[in-house]
């Protein structure tokens, strides 16, 4: 046992303390005696992995076995977030496949980077021969180390679309696509299990909608949200691979509607981490949530601290998403959220019906770590700090009354789901001062190796 050379720079008393490393199945127990455990629904213990790294080798791929949920469907869409190890453009050594589902030589759907022209191709084969449609990006150069989010879709409308980072780069409403292949595994990161034309880089998530057009077809708002890291609604997501398992030997769990269809990592795939390697509470942003038992104390002066790995840009979206929702009733709560028609983070505090809402509009990038600290002083002030800095403040005359339930990733009615990954959450006795917040944030940043510039 080593000696503790550094301590918290000032005394702190925790009312609640939740450490994701202790998640036990569907429970996140409290690390505070008398605290309130969280019960996970859909949410799970994962890691801060950035995704899966692919090498392009024959054993670098993820296989999702063919099944009825993905075969012979009239509509299909896939969103992939990826970055490359080396810049890709015309003259690259070989094509790099991101995805393919292939049954026969002329019966496939596929997404790949083409070395002849540097473009991204979204193609479907026609079982009668020839290509049913071919869409290509206007982007012809892909920068090493830069994340891209692509969305490729088809319906029997017919509508075929190709978007890069939310921008439509090609579409086709003339060619009528055939249904998805009635067999053949879905391959992520390569053309096939054994192909040597796979991606050389990292994929951080894959979201697939497949089914009837009326059910899974994306609307423009879905496409916009996907480019921000915000998933589509439940019914439109049959496969969702968040790729945050972070453990050699682990499969890639499907968090979407098709349920059990896990992806199997081949041997050359590895998990990519940054400087921070920790267990976290992972939520899919579709229908996962993690409420506590009743009895959380948010009365008087208190501070809510949440450390997250941002999984969306918090930009204006179709719906609210909750980060921390400490709820007694409609007249008494503390809410840390991203809200419809507002880009950024909002802190709302309601005490005995007296509400104060303050907002912060600087957006994170996906994968940014953030330390949010909301301080509440009874009948006085509410403050929101981000990464140690006071970003917004307001006066407030409210007094919170009653015992609360803590919700992470959802509103108390089972809505407004969020997909940020939680590394740490606590409620501290008393409202921290600005200096305390700064010191505490620096300390958390150092201890967790978050790499935030504070």
């Amino acid at each position: 046992m080593s000696a503790g050379l550094q301590k918290t720079p000032f005394p702190i008393t925790y009312r609640e303390l939740w450490l994701p490393e202790a998640i036990n199945g569907t429970k996140l127990p409290s690390s505070k005696n008398g605290g309130h455990a969280l019960t996970l629904t859909g949410a799970s213990k994962q890691t801060t992995s950035d995704g899966v790294h692919f090498t392009g080798a024959a054993t670098s791929n993820i296989v999702v076995a063919a099944n009825a949920a993905q075969n012979a469907k009239a509509a299909f869409n896939i969103t992939i977030r990826f970055k490359l190890d080396a810049t890709f453009a015309t003259g690259a050594a070989s094509d790099q496949y991101l995805f393919q589902k292939l049954l026969a030589a002329d019966d496939y759907i596929k997404v790949f980077l083409e070395n002849a022209d540097g473009k991204l191709y979204w193609m479907q084969g026609n079982v009668a021969g020839g290509n049913e449609f071919t869409l290509t990006s206007t982007t012809v150069s892909w920068t090493a180390g830069t994340w891209y989010i692509i969305t490729c879709s088809l319906t029997d409308g017919p509508v075929q679309r190709l978007l890069i980072n939310g921008t439509l780069e090609d579409s086709d409403a003339v060619a009528t696509p055939v249904t998805t292949p009635n067999g053949g595994d879905m391959i992520i990161g390569s053309s096939s299990d054994g192909g040597v034309d796979g991606l050389i880089g990292v994929i951080s998530f894959v979201e697939i909608g497949v089914g009837a057009t009326a059910t899974v077809a994306l609307v423009a708002a879905d496409e916009t949200d996907l480019a921000k890291g915000i998933p589509a609604a439940t019914a439109k997501v049959q496969y969702l691979y968040l790729m945050d398992e972070g453990r050699l030997g682990a499969t890639c769990t499907n968090r979407g509607d098709a349920g059990v269809a896990a992806g199997t990592l081949d041997s050359a795939c590895t998990w990519a981490f940054g400087s921070c390697k920790r267990a976290c509470l992972s939520l899919d942003g579709i229908n996962d949530y993690a409420p506590s038992s009743l009895g959380v104390n948010i009365t008087g002066d208190s501070s809510l601290v949440v450390v997250v790995k941002s999984k969306n840009t918090q930009d204006t979206s179709l719906r609210n998403s909750m980060m921390g929702w400490l709820y007694v009733n409609g007249n008494n709560y503390i809410s840390l959220s991203h809200a419809v028609a507002f880009s950024g983070t909002r802190l709302s505090v309601n005490g005995s019906g007296v509400i104060k809402t303050i907002a912060y509009s600087t957006l994170p990038a996906i994968d940014d770590y953030r330390i949010y600290i909301a301080t509440v002083r009874r009948a006085s002030t509410v403050n929101l700090f981000v990464n140690g800095t006071l970003v917004t403040t307001g006066t407030w005359a409210g007094i919170i009354v009653g015992a609360a339930t803590a919700y992470f990733g959802e509103y108390h009615t089972g809505a407004e789901f969020g997909n940020d990954e939680y590394l740490f959450a606590t409620i501290i006795e008393g409202a921290l001062s600005s200096k305390q917040v700064l010191e505490y944030s620096k300390w958390l940043n150092y201890k967790m190796r978050l790499g935030i510039a504070i």
């Binding site: 490393e21 998640i23 036990n24 127990p29 690390s31 505070k32 890691t47 030997g249 300390w443």
Partner: protein, 144 residues
């Protein structure tokens, strides 16, 4: 400040120290609490605690639990771990298996589960050999 206040203050200092030291990233004590629940009859198994060492090795995992005396039965406590060559499959560490015969009274039982190397996971599982309701609650501590 009364006696009770002083005791509470001292308790809080200790509690704060544990939590803070944990966040410090050094090998100091952290505690988990498992609320009261029912011990199932075999073949059902209760996983009382789980711990993940993804962020770095933890040492000296200890746990204790309280059993009430409502059911006379043979209780088994077992430590399951993943291993370096298989990071996702839990296997029983038989050395750390104990049988508790007939608690007979409200009992506190303490065990040691050793170290948990970086990247591994551990689960503490409990079951008994006969049906019937009885309660268990516990704490787990580790240096991590």
């Amino acid at each position: 400040m009364g006696v009770n206040d002083t005791a509470l203050l001292e308790y809080n200092k200790r509690d704060i120290g544990f939590a803070n030291d944990k966040l410090d990233g050094q090998l100091v004590l952290t505690t988990l609490f498992a609320a009261s629940t029912v011990v199932p009859a075999t073949p059902a198994v209760l996983t009382l605690f789980a711990l993940d060492a993804t962020g770095g090795s933890v040492k000296d995992v200890k746990f204790a639990f309280w059993l009430n005396d409502e059911i006379a039965a043979t209780y088994t406590v077992s430590v399951f771990k993943t291993s370096a060559d298989d990071l996702v499959t839990f296997v029983q560490d038989f050395v750390k298996t104990w049988t508790i015969a007939l608690p007979g009274f409200d009992g506190v039982y303490s065990f040691e589960a050793g170290d948990l190397e970086e990247g591994l996971q551990i689960e503490i599982r409990v079951w008994k050999d006969s049906a019937g309701t009885n309660a268990i609650r516990g704490t787990l501590t580790y240096l991590g």
